[in-house]
């Protein structure tokens, strides 16, 4: 049961690129397509996802997991959207983002025990280890970016950090090798290991036996990327550029699953605290998102709103979207 769950962490190096909004609408779309979805606010310390769903004063938060030892099901909050439940991290305190590794592990195990087909985990910005660990829960993670060069830079750094964190955790018993990818403990680490090629080279110089396993880790790491707030055709190239850059320096096959155009509808939906996929399913951002959901769920999803009611059309594709 737990192993069949599809966890989709949504992260990104930069703040304000639309991680929370896209996570929410992604969860809504997948839920409307018929899957049981749990949306979890993983931005510990700066939660806001409940506001996007219009849920005021959430009755539970993830803190209850540690305080009252509540069961995972008891933390789920109804959203009013069929098949979609929500876990809030509201009521978080300063320092919540810096919970220790044990607590992170507990949360991860809690997520994996959730009774759902898909868990969408909205993460906070940055490249702290906690965020990277949550991002690395699943190989099918999503990285968000906007077309601006600063955002693209941070996205690259985020992907590299996530990959190196994976490798670092694998090499935790081999400090000579771990220091190549973990600069937090080893300040004197040489900066020559900035790409996968240099990493491979340096690891083979120290311990060639680890090269194969590391290659496997790199091969398994297949995040997807969504470019948000696209305003021109040129902006679309940001995704392609990122794919090329990640392939060149990290040897990772980044999956460019789609883009969302810049629109006032999205902003309006935030103001109204209603996901734009429900508020205006025929809008351009909604159509973009439906294509992304179709890619993720291997379906052709189409939403229509008539007389205030949402009608869903879903057709299963023959070719697969996600890797199993």
């Amino acid at each position: 049961m737990a192993s069949s769950i599809n966890i989709i962490p949504v992260g990104g190096g930069k703040g304000g690129i639309g991680k929370s909004i896209i996570s929410t609408n992604l969860a809504v779309g997948i839920a409307l397509s018929g899957q049981k979805v749990v949306l979890m606010d993983g931005d510990f310390g700066a939660s806001n996802l409940h506001a996007l769903l219009g849920i005021s004063h959430p009755i539970h938060g993830f803190q209850d997991l540690f305080i009252n030892n509540k069961s995972p099901e008891s933390l789920l909050i109804e959203t009013g959207i069929s098949n979609l439940k929500f876990i809030s991290s509201a009521g978080d305190n300063p320092g919540s983002a810096n919970i220790d590794t044990e607590h992170v592990k507990k949360i991860i195990s809690f997520i994996k025990k959730l009774n759902a087909d898909t868990v969408i985990l909205d993460l906070g910005p940055g490249t702290s280890f906690n965020i990277l660990d949550f991002f690395n829960i699943s190989a099918q993670s999503i990285v968000m970016s906007s077309p601006e060069i600063t955002s693209v830079m941070k996205t690259f750094s985020f992907i590299r950090s996530a990959l190196f964190r994976r490798i670092s955790l694998h090499l935790k018993d081999l400090p000579n090798l771990q220091k190549l990818v973990d600069h937090s403990k080893y300040l004197k680490t040489d900066l020559k290991t900035y790409s996968v090629d240099t990493l491979r080279k340096n690891i083979s110089n120290i311990d060639d036996s680890q090269t194969k396993e590391i290659n496997q880790i790199i091969e398994k790491f297949k995040p997807s990327i969504i470019i948000n707030r696209v305003r021109s055709k040129k902006d679309l190239l940001a995704g392609n550029n990122m794919v090329n850059l990640v392939k060149k320096y990290l040897d990772v096959n980044l999956n460019y699953i789609g883009y969302i155009v810049e629109s006032d509808r999205v902003r309006d939906s935030v103001e109204d605290m209603v996901p734009f996929l429900i508020k205006d399913p025929q809008s351009k951002p909604s159509q973009n998102l439906q294509q992304i959901i179709g890619t993720l769920t291997n379906t052709d999803l189409h939403l229509v709103k008539e007389d205030g009611r949402i009608f869903v059309s879903k057709q299963v594709r023959l070719n697969s979207g996600w890797d199993a």
Partner: protein, 459 residues
């Protein structure tokens, strides 16, 4: 009616036949419908009259449209001409050099001029008082308008030989008078600030500040004064305070002082009012009496010349001892802004007021004739009004004295502010926005990786 109808019909028939013969219109099918319409019109007298009326009105309408168009064009031309004239006037005012011998368009080093740019932009809004540049322009306008008003009101035509002779006589004498206090002021200034005025004061003294002195002297003298900040000239205040300024100098000083425009406006209004009163009184007097008045006037002027100190005492309105700190500069400015007009304006106002006073006191032939006429009562009223004007002027110039101090402070603070700003050395190199995708990628890489890493990567 029938005959008219027949004649019209025959006329149209003839015309139609001729046109038909020339163009063979009958063969054209389209004209068949027109023929029917024409037949209908010819059959109905009302339609015929209407058609004739319409045809007749066409040339009138065309003519009307043309006239309207031409009228519009004329108006536009007139407006454009006005605009050009205005622009020309502005150009002539702006192009006027501050110094007599200074070539047009040469930039002057007036302390307030550099501030003018600041005043126009950000600093100008901070101070509610008018900017220095604006004051300059309006000052010239004021001088011109004052002169025009005086000329108009007093019928002082510059082409009039009689008045021009009088003017020459007055200006010659007054110039001589004026030089005395100027010399005194420079002497006093030299005593107090010898260091600051060492460049040319002796030469100026040697030449007795004659207006015909050569270009270099005046330029150097101007530069000497212009380079100095306002504060360095401050000691001259007290020195001049001891000397009683002649009204001419005080008046010219006032006219050249740029910050006192508002007061000058009021002063101009007052002058205008005075001159109107004068005009009225002169107009009521017959031509013969006017000649007598002129002779009286000349006599009064000669008396004034004999007793220069007496002029200052009855006109405390012009006695502003605190405002001599720009004396040297203003002497030059005095020259540049039509000295004749200013002198003319001021001397006429003062002398006329003096003259009227004297008239009333001495009861000369002019007054007798005026008393004999029915205007005497009116003259008394006018004299009393003149007195009130004089009182008003006194109070206004007293307030002007204090205002000038505040404007000085404002100018000082503005210059201080300007001095507080130092030019920043900014060596900002804007990176050109990448055009191709390849360039974009290389730029992206340059942002992500360090220089060392780049070298390793290239190896």
């Amino acid at each position: 009616m029938e005959t008219i109808k027949q004649s019209v019909a025959t006329f149209f028939d003839k015309a139609w036949l001729k046109v038909n013969a020339i163009l063979s219109l009958e063969e054209m099918e389209i004209l068949g419908s027109f023929q029917l319409v024409l037949n209908n019109i010819l059959a109905d007298p009302l339609l015929l009259v209407l058609a004739i009326g319409i045809i007749a009105s066409i040339p009138y309408i065309v003519h009307k449209i043309k006239t309207v168009q031409t009228e519009k064009e004329k108006r536009l031309d007139a407006l454009l001409q006005e605009l050009e004239q205005l622009e020309e006037n502005e150009e002539t005012h702006k192009g006027k050099s501050l110094l007599k011998n200074q070539p047009k368009g040469e930039k002057t080093n007036h302390p307030n001029e550099s501030l003018g740019t600041l005043n126009n932009e950000a600093y100008g809004n901070e101070f509610e008082s008018s900017g220095s540049e604006k004051t300059n322009e309006s000052l010239e306008e004021l001088n011109l308008t004052t002169q025009e008003n005086i000329n108009d009101d007093l019928s002082w035509d510059s082409s009039n030989d009689k008045w021009s002779d009088l003017y020459d006589h007055l200006s010659q004498n007054l110039d001589e008078d004026k030089q005395v206090p100027i010399q005194q002021s420079i002497k006093m200034g030299g005593d107090i600030s010898e260091d600051t005025l060492t460049q040319k004061p002796l030469e100026i003294m040697d030449h007795e500040l004659s207006w015909e002195s050569n270009h270099d002297e005046w330029t150097e003298l101007y530069d000497t004064v212009a380079e100095k900040p306002l504060e360095t000239d401050m000691p001259a205040k007290n020195s001049i305070e001891k000397d009683n300024l002649t009204p001419e100098i005080a008046a010219t000083e006032l006219t050249t002082d740029q910050e006192e425009q508002d007061e000058l406006d009021k002063f101009a209004d007052s002058l205008e009012a005075i001159s109107k009163i004068e005009k009225e009184s002169i107009e009521t007097v017959p031509e013969e009496e006017k000649l007598e008045e002129v002779t009286n006037f000349l006599e009064a002027v000669s008396e004034l010349e004999k007793e220069p100190m007496d002029i200052t005492t009855p006109t405390p309105a012009f006695n502003i001892p605190e405002r001599i700190e720009l004396s040297l500069k203003e002497i030059e400015v005095e020259e540049l802004i039509k000295p004749k007009s200013i002198e003319q304006a001021e001397t006429t106002s003062t002398i006329h007021s003096k003259l009227i006073k004297e008239k009333s006191l001495t009861a000369g032939p002019l007054l007798n004739s005026m008393l004999n006429s029915s205007v005497s009562a009116k003259t008394d009223a006018l004299v009393s009004r003149l007195k009130t004007f004089q009182a008003e002027l006194e109070t206004r110039f007293q307030s002007l004295e204090t205002e000038s101090k505040t404007t000085q402070q404002i100018t000082k603070t503005t210059s201080d502010k300007k001095n507080n700003y130092q030019p920043a050395s900014v060596n900002y190199k804007s990176i050109k926005k990448s055009r191709s995708n390849k360039e974009y990628l290389s730029q992206l890489e340059s942002f992500i990786f360090m220089a060392k890493q780049k070298n390793i990567n290239s190896d």
